[in-house]
Symmetry: none
Subunit: 246 residues, 2 copies
């Protein structure tokens, strides 16, 4: 991949300047836009690898723009906003943003997010970042991404918590691939909780979460057949997954 091309969108010129300067120093190629028309213009002109989009764009809603862009093109988007309320955050994700960061932000954090999103895009590692309405079948089970429900082989619905569902989505998106706890935690965090702490995946949260999911979807949780432990590494979803796009 050559130098990544970023598009910084903000109606505040000073903010544009600061972000641009910082990101250029870090080696990215940075373009700017102040409104919807300029965004479209840039997208038409040439490749853009990632958009950093301010949520408040004058009287336009960045969230709406985000949704529209998503519909038309497959450009990764990081939403930037001064509003850090959870409510706002959620809105961003539902609209299809790949990540969310609150102003004022720590430059290093921004950098980390940018790289993470770019890297993800390159690998198309995870479905979990897009709202997806696909239906997954695995070992008799079904996960319906549209209704967000899980059906056991016998057809009965199993109630998973939000976090358990997220974990399931992550492993469904990466069958047969060993995932470290850190990878899982990062993905889960970005998925749901744009919370600013990307570090400090301190304890055994993932272990416990895995245990809880196992207790609901494994026939014999003591000897997992699907979500297996890869000692010294992490976990693997060791079952074939069939995805039916919805």
């Amino acid at each position: 991949m050559s130098i990544p091309r970023l598009l910084v969108v903000d109606d505040d010129a000073e903010m544009r300047r600061m972000m641009t300067e910082f990101l250029r120093k870090k080696g990215f190629m940075v373009m700017t836009a102040a409104n919807r028309a300029q965004i479209v213009s840039h997208l038409d002109q040439g490749r853009i690898d990632l958009i950093l989009l301010d949520v408040m764009l004058g009287d336009e809603s960045g969230v709406e723009i985000c949704a529209e862009l998503r519909l038309e093109r497959d450009v990764p988007i990081i939403l930037v906003s001064a509003l850090s309320a959870d409510h706002q955050r959620m809105q961003g994700y539902e609209v299809g943003a790949d990540d969310y960061i609150a102003k004022p932000f720590n430059p290093d954090l921004l950098l980390a997010r940018v790289r993470a999103v770019l890297r993800r895009g390159r690998r198309s590692a995870s479905l979990a970042y897009r709202r997806n309405t696909s239906i997954y079948s695995f070992g008799g089970w079904t996960y319906d991404g549209k209704k967000d429900i899980v059906l056991a082989p016998d057809g009965f619905q199993v109630a998973l918590s939000k976090r358990e569902t997220s974990l399931l989505k992550v492993v469904l998106a990466n069958p047969h691939i060993p995932l470290t706890r850190e990878e899982i935690a990062d993905t889960l965090d970005v998925n749901h909780d744009g919370a600013t702490q990307s570090e400090a995946a301190t304890g055994r949260a993932i272990d416990v979460l895995v245990g809880r999911l196992r207790s609901k979807i494994e026939r014999n949780p003591k000897e997992p057949e699907m979500l297996r432990t890869e000692r010294g590494t992490g976990y693997v979803f060791a079952v074939d997954v069939v995805v039916k796009d919805g």
Copy 2:
């Protein structure tokens, strides 16, 4: 996954030789290249799982080559360089390298990085990740690589630990061939790349491991019929093995 294929790129022949020798000992298949043309040639000829690319390639810039390779193909790259300044490192990342290591490097560190990148790389599913799904039959016993289980002649399943299973796979792959402890240890480590195992199998780990496996699969562990000791050399799997590809 079959044996990973690495491409070592360095214009210094001595450095190529050292790295190649070390990595081959660790069980990788290693090819070498000294310039851009040779890299391309190797990439065209066959599958390459990972490139170890020197940053200073005579008068060419490894960084540039890295960027170009990234554009055209999705080969993981580890940049190797004598320049350890942070600035340089950053450049490497932004250009798309998967990791960066400074010369002179600790061999174990190199190994750890290589394994980490290979493990990560597997998630670009198009590539060579393939489970070993063969079924091995030996002296009435069965090892099912698909389900990763071992069946005794009486049909009952025998529980082997992960390490014991690995050892079994190694000797099954080399029936009637005397294996030294070092060969076994190296192969075991490569098999489970991703785990940053400690190197330099100091002690008698293999002996003990062999003993444990024997206690589970030999009729009379005191007088092994299958996994025999080759005094002064190592161990031999002295039974015919029939492999049925799956």
